[in-house]
Amino acid sequence: MDAANSPPTRGNLPPPLAGEDQARGDGGYYDYPVVRRPVWTWEVPAYFWLGGMAAGAYVTASLAHGFGSADDRRATAGGYYLAAAALVPCAPLLIADLGRPDRFHHMLRIFKPLSPMNLGAWTLTGFTPIAFARAASHAAGTGLLRGPLGALARLVPTRLAELAGCALGLTLAGYSGVLLAATNIPLWAKSKLLGGLFMASALASGSAAVTLQAARRGAPDATLHRLAALESAASAGEIAVLAGYLTQSGRTARPLTRGRFAAPFWLGAVGAGAVLPLLLHRLAGGRRGRALQSLSAVASLCTIAGSLALRWSIFEAGKDSSEDQSASFELSSG
């Protein structure tokens, strides 16, 4: 318990720009932070990434099942398996991050959508069984799941599971950014767009996961082109929302854009995660067969990795941002 309370240093923040010193020394109490550093660890961004990807994959597969051709349905059905698989570690990650993991069920003690944390716990609780039921139903349809379990899985109303799963999945993909933003950490709270940014990133990574499995299993060219169009739309949307987010955040975003996490953010989340996949999909646009499959697969891997880089860098830079006294004063200036 040595010096548990001594205030953290501002050593993690990027140095002030030239001529910015006056603005920094805002007459606060020494250089002590105004707000507390979040106590969350790596489990949280990992969960946001996996949960978002599961939701995105489920929504993409459901869109293809609702509107697409028989080829589209066949090629994207693996998205239901991916959604279920990505959800497996989600609850354990969330529980591991609690200060008292043995009391995880207290999350469901009340229903309080005013608290994004409570809303998210309920959404995950609702979405996980639906995603598993839909995956089981597909497995039963292809003959992978036999016997009494298969018979049970055949009873799942697929269209209803798709609709309910999409509603819950979009909530799961969208609440995580709002949760971080519903705090007083300048980097997370200043802009109104963090929820939208995480939503776009989740849908990009989810559709990328569907593309990846479709490309690996040799899906028809037409389906891959459609998936590439959808994934590119999500990536383009992500870049647009990110631009808005950085503009709204202004100087507050510096722990992210210039701090310790500038490299994973710019190179990982923006470069490899959004810009490169857009270019690769464009390059794949006129191609067919194996070339298309390989290019799609590489683009999708980049999107998925970039999605993790985005959550992780914004999450970690947010902790540094909590030490930014002048950003806190700016955030609370009305």
């Binding site: 010096a3 509107f67 939208g196 776009a200």
Partner: protein, 280 residues
Amino acid sequence: MIDAYKRLMNVESPPPPKRARGFFTDTSLCIGCKACEVACKQWNQLPADGFAMTGNSYDNTGTLGATTWRHVQFIEQAKANSSRQDQRWLMMSDVCKHCANAACLEACPTGALIRTEFDTVYVQQDICNGCGFCVPACPFGVIDRAPKHGQFEAGTAHKCTLCYDRLKDDMTPACAKSCPTASIQFGDVEELQERARHRLAELKARGETKAELYGMPEGKEATEVGPLHAFFLLLDRPHTYNLPDIPRLPRQTMAQRYGWSAAVGVGFALIGALVFRGRR
């Protein structure tokens, strides 16, 4: 059936409301003795935080935290070559503000954080599962989670309880009881507010032009979090004491944030429908 459920889930009806209690911390009377810090630690059996020297005046406490519920700040105001009249040594005993609209309470997903019959904000230690959401939600940086593997109430959130146990027995909270200069005054919030207005007028009349109240219902700091049930008389701008001008309540902008998130999601679904449409 409902009765059985209530027994199973330990659902009790809350005690009848009492008059709102709170603190009026008059920093013009604080002498920086830290008796409040010590009394708080002693009564609430909070462990020591070590012996780190910060080098910032007499403040070796640093910040409020899981095991520090009163924190005396020391602000040395002295410019080079200034006359003695311009030099001031400000002291202020900081504490949980027990906001009327508390961000921590709204963030809490388990219902561990409650409003008591005294209108104070309290963490139920047997309910809190240490999710940590209240920690960055507080605009004042008050509440904190005890280390997961520490000796003291590991893994749950802690902050000033306004000595809930003492209040139940009609006793004054430990810090106010120990304050030798009546800098920390405990009582009914409305009566304390009246007292604070008188005190401010008195100080202004004596020439303390920079004195102001922080946390009163009419103050701009009450815009979002409401009146603070632990409020202050300050001798300088709030920033001097690391207090935000308008402490934010995250709920205020949450609908807008969900709106942007939903817009992106719906946009994706529409594009997806267009991309796949008519290929049956």
